[in-house]
Symmetry: C2
Subunit: 233 residues, 2 copies
DNA sequence: TAGCTCCTGTAACATAAGTTACAATCGGGT
DNA sequence: ACCCGATTGTAACTTATGTTACAGGAGCTA
C-alpha cells in the first residue's frame, strides 16, 4: 500500500470544505453546458458541492461507504483494485467528464469496490447519491449515466485484455504511455517501486524491464523519473 | 476458436423462431412477477419474443451487431472475451434473471464486445433495444437496469481479481467449481483442450495442473469429464 | 563531511507457465 | 476386428516472472 503520500480522506474533506452555490453553478455551466440542459444544470448546482484536491489524495478506499457521487471537472483520478492480501492493481484513469459509475445503485449509500487517488490537482463536484435516480427522467442525465456505465465497462474490459493477453513489458509500457498522457508530459515522475505497486509485481522486475525498454529506445531512465519517447496513438 | 460445435447464430434463429405472444406473457408472468409490476410485464410481453436454444449455441460474437437485449429465463450463458489474435478468455456465466448489460446504450444498435455461448439449453426473451430507455421511467425497470449493471461490474471485477491475483491452478479450480454449479452436477463434461481455450493457455498446461489438483484430492479425472469433489461455498 | 534514507542496478536462483514432441489409450464407425 | 481421430499422460526444454541479496549513487540533513 503506497499511501505514504496520500494526504486526506474524502470523508473528512467534505465536511471541511464548503463553497457557495454560485461557484458550483459557474463551474457547471462552463463545463457541462453542452451535455446537460439548463434545468438539469440548475438542479445539480442546487445540491452539488465543489471540491479541489491536491495530487495524491485518496478520495475513497475499499470498503469505505459513501453517499456521494463525484463529477470530474478537471484533473485526473487513478482507480485501483486490491486483493485480500493488500496487493494492488491499477485499473484505469478517470478524466474530465467522467464519473465514478461503479457506485450506481438504488441504495442510499454504497460500499466502494475500488480505491480512487488523484494523480494531479483535481476539481470535482459531489452530488448526493439520492438524486441519481430522481434525475433519470431527464434524457440528458439518462444519457450521461448510460454513457458513464458504458465507459467504465470498456475500461474494465481493457484492463482484462491487458492482464490476460499482454506480457509485463507491454503492460508497463502501456501504463507509462497512459500516465504520460494524463500528466500531459513525456516525463513521468515516479519511482520503480510505485510502478511495481500499481502493476502488482516487484521493484526488481520493474527495474529489469525498464532497462530492456530503454535498450529498445522506447524510453530514457532518470533518477525518480522516466522519459517516455514514443507517443500514444 | 472452439466454434466447432456451435450450432446456430442468433441472427438467423431470431428470424426462424417466432412464438405467439401468449407464451411470452405466460413465461414473463411466471418468472418475473416479483420483479416487474403488471404494466411493465405487459409492455415487455408485447414486444418481447421467446426463444429456446440448445447447449453450445453462439448467441452473439465479437463485432456483431444486435438490436436486441436478452432476458434470461432458464439455462446458462458463458461470456467470453477475445483478443486480436483470436485468443479467448472466459469472463463469467449468466444465469436466470440476468441480462447482458454490456449492451446498454442509447444507440439503436450496438456492437458486441463479447461472445456469448449457451452452456446448456437456454430460454430467453429478446427485447428490441429501443425500449430499454423508454421504460426507464418505470421504477421496477430502472431498478432492474441498475442492478444488472452493478452485477456485470461485479463480475468484471471478479474476473480482474482472478487474473491479477490468482495462479493458474487456482483459476482452473475456480472455473471448474463454477461450471459444476452452472451444470448442477459435480461431473463437468469437457476436454482439457476446451478448458485451455477458456483460460487462454495450452492443453498441456491444463493437463499438468489437473493432475496436480487430482493428487491433492480436489477432483477425479475421467476421460472427457472431471468430477469435482469440493463444493462452492 | 558524515550519516542517513531512498532509489537504482545487477547477479543468482526459484518457480510458474508456455512449447514441442511423442506415446498411449479410448471409443466410435466401418 | 480394425482403423482412426480425439483425448490424455509425460518428458524435456524455454521463457517469463518472482525472490533474495547486496552494492553503489543521489540527495538530504546535522
Amino acid at each position: 500500500m503506497s499511501d505514504k503520500n496520500v494526504k486526506y480522506s474524502l470523508t473528512f474533506i467534505i465536511l471541511i470544505i464548503g463553497i457557495m452555490d454560485s461557484k458550483v453553478r459557474d463551474i457547471l455551466f462552463t463545463n457541462y453546458k453542452h451535455q446537460f440542459n439548463h434545468d438539469l444544470l440548475e438542479q445539480i448546482a442546487e445540491v452539488g458541492t465543489y471540491h479541489s484536491f491536491p495530487e495524491n489524495t485518496m478520495l475513497i478506499d475499499f470498503g469505505q461507504r459513501t453517499e456521494h457521487m463525484p463529477l470530474l471537472i478537471s484533473g485526473a483520478i487513478k482507480i485501483l483494485r486490491e486483493d485480500d492480501n493488500g496487493k494492488e492493481l491499477f485499473l484505469y484513469f478517470l478524466e474530465k467528464g467522467d464519473t465514478c459509475t461503479m457506485t450506481f445503485t438504488t441504495a442510499p449509500q454504497i460500499i466502494s469496490e475500488i480505491r480512487a487517488i488523484t494523480e494531479v490537482r483535481t476539481e470535482l463536484i459531489m452530488m448526493p447519491l439520492e438524486h441519481i435516480q430522481k434525475w433519470m427522467s431527464n434524457p440528458d442525465w439518462q444519457q450521461f449515466v448510460f454513457n458513464s456505465f458504458t465507459s467504465r465497462m470498456q475500461e474494465m474490459l481493457e484492463a482484462i485484455d491487458t492482464l490476460a493477453f499482454m506480457n509485463l513489458d507491454q503492460r508497463l509500457h502501456k501504463y507509462l504511455l497512459e500516465k504520460a498522457s494524463i500528466m500531459k508530459s513525456e516525463v513521468v515522475v515516479c519511482s520503480h517501486e510505485e510502478l511495481a505497486l500499481d502493476l502488482n509485481t516487484s521493484r526488481v522486475v520493474i527495474s529489469r524491464i525498464l532497462k530492456q525498454l530503454e535498450n529498445k529506445g522506447l524510453l530514457v531512465l532518470r533518477r525518480g523519473a522516466i522519459e517516455v519517447l514514443t507517443q500514444l496513438v
